[in-house]
Amino acid sequence: MSETLLEVRNLSKHFGAIRALDNFDMTIHRGEVVALAGDNGAGKTTMIKTISGVFRPTSGEVILRGEPVSFSTPQEARDKGIETIYQDLALADNLSIGANIFLGREPMTKKWGFLPVLDRKTMREAARETMALLDFHVSRLDAPVSNFSGGQRQAVAIGRAVHWNAQILIMDEPTAALGVPEQRKVLSLIRQLKAQGRGIIFISHNLQDIFAVSDRIIVMRRGIKAGERAISETTHDEVVKLMIGG
């Protein structure tokens, strides 16, 4: 079995009386795609936000490459090589695609040989390339992302996460707003990332997509783990049964 990248032990997150996540365990290895499935409100988003430093866990541990970590901000998680695509995108609407991709890690260049300034050209180029990766060919590289369509914005969020060579990628319903060709692109991208040895958490309501790219599936129900299966050893039906607790 390949190296363990990330492990989560007994992780809980409560909102007041609501146990959105309750004593949850999971592991991801290098080169592995783990799908997280479950009905609406099962706790998937809460789970990954707790890993990525958005929420502080109520209790439990996150272990990264054998070391216990505790991210109090998403910055710390990013610095340790965890990139996340959030379900609600989390883009700065007033900034361009490039500025969003580089948000928090802006490239600099020197003007007149000495004055450090933002390297907008690099950002623009990277934006064009990253979007093209997903088959989006954008020309309005200086327009704020608020001017783009739902799927285009989804692509920006995906683009941002894949641009940085993170070891661990967390994707919360990345294809929900995408057109058919773009969905396929994203799936093939996931396979590529997997081949490069990254660990990926893939959240989706689309079982077909899950079965197409994942190695393992974890089904959540009301904040707990309802079951875990190797993809090769399970079926759509079994997964649905786990989801609804039947």
Binding site: F15, G16, A17, R222, E228, G246
Partner: protein, 353 residues
């Protein structure tokens, strides 16, 4: 690969509830909603303690102090009420102070003009009517600017700040306008069972405004617009009409404040409301509203306004040096919200994000 684990299936009901909360936090939340009141209570207790220790007196068990604070709070409260509505909608009304001044001046002139011919009562009624009605004019212009012409509220009402100010001073001839009508003076300074009339008028008015904000469509739409104006518009709310009415309402509150000012001081003054701007916005925010819109209550604002009135009164009462009063008021205002923050965290509503 790790061994697949199984959770004991949730027996009982076939279909899981999408929502797995219970109602337990409601109580905690209710207390949290009262946080401005709690702080007010703490403040009062603090002054009481201070008064007892420093000179053996009492701060709060003293009806004189209660009356004084209540009267003090009238004008800021009325302005803050209008401001509460506006702030919940995501706007701000900077012109309220001078609309109050304008109303005070017009009420004074009107009463002086009407009383000799028509008698005390008619004079007073005319004054009230004229004061509130004149206030509605700048309110309507604010409303038009914000709703139709999409001028940002800050700028539209800042412009009106100047226009109302100039108009009020022009009408007042740059000075105060003395009123002569004994009934009006009586309303401004009389009391019944120890309660000043203007406090009663204000209390009734606040009750009505509380009703409007919490129990009517107008109030509900106000919250929706403040949270997400796009969503409100798409839901079919007449946002333009609402905003128009909103700024008229807030101006009317200022108008009432102006009339009561004239009644109390027996004179209308154009600058009557000028110093209240920051205090009235602060009252709303201390009361729990966000300047980004979508939240706030009249009850909270009342607490916020009383917090400010109690600090300012109390510091004089316990005899703090003048320049130190500035500092103390500042510190207490900050603390009032710090406690709010701590409670929110404790109540565990929206978290860290």
């Amino acid at each position: 690969m790790s061994t697949p684990t199984e959770a004991s299936p949730d027996s009982g009901h076939g279909k899981p509830q999408a929502d797995h909360a219970d109602q337990a936090r409601t109580l905690v939340q209710h207390v949290a909603d009262l946080r401005a009141w709690l702080f007010l209570a703490a403040l009062v207790v603090g002054f009481e303690f201070w008064a007892r220790v420093s000179f053996g007196g009492t701060f709060i068990l003293n009806t004189f102090n209660l009356q004084s604070i209540a009267i003090f709070a009238v004008a800021p409260l009325l302005l803050a009420t209008g401001q509460t509505f506006v702030i919940i909608s995501g706007g701000i009304d900077l012109s309220l102070g001078f609309i109050m001044g304008l109303a005070a001046v017009v009420a004074a002139h009107t009463i002086n003009a009407v009383t000799p011919g028509a008698g005390l009562l008619v004079g007073v009624l005319a004054g009230f009517l004229a004061g509130v009605a004149i206030a509605c004019i700048p309110g309507m212009i604010n409303g038009l600017l914000v709703s139709r012409l999409k001028v940002p509220p800050f700028i539209g009402t800042l412009g009106m700040f100047g226009v109302a100010r100039g108009t009020a001073f022009l009408l007042a001839g740059g000075t105060t306008v003395p009123v002569s009508n004994n009934l009006f003076a009586m309303i401004g300074n009389g009391r019944i069972w120890g309660i000043p009339y203007i406090v009663i008028i204000t209390a009734v008015f606040m009750l009505v405004m509380h009703y409007v904000l919490s129990q009517t469509k107008f109030g509900q739409h106000n919250y929706a617009i403040g949270a997400n104006v796009q969503a409100a518009r798409r839901a079919g709310i007449d946002v333009k009409g609402h905003l128009f009415r909103l700024y008229v309402l807030s101006a009317a509150c200022a108008g009432l404040a102006g009339v009561l000012y004239s009644a109390r001081f027996n004179a209308g003054a154009a600058q009557a409301g000028e110093p209240l701007l920051l205090d009235c916005v602060a009252a709303v925010v201390i009361g729990g509203a966000s300047l980004f819109g979508g939240s706030g209550t009249i009850l909270g604002t009342i607490a916020g306004a009383l917090v400010i009135a109690v600090i300012q009164y109390g510091l004089v009462f316990v005899n703090v040096e003048p320049f130190w009063q500035f500092i103390s008021v500042g510190v207490v205002i900050i603390i009032s919200v710090l406690i709010d923050q701590a409670q929110r965290r404790f109540a565990g509503g929206r978290v860290d994000e």
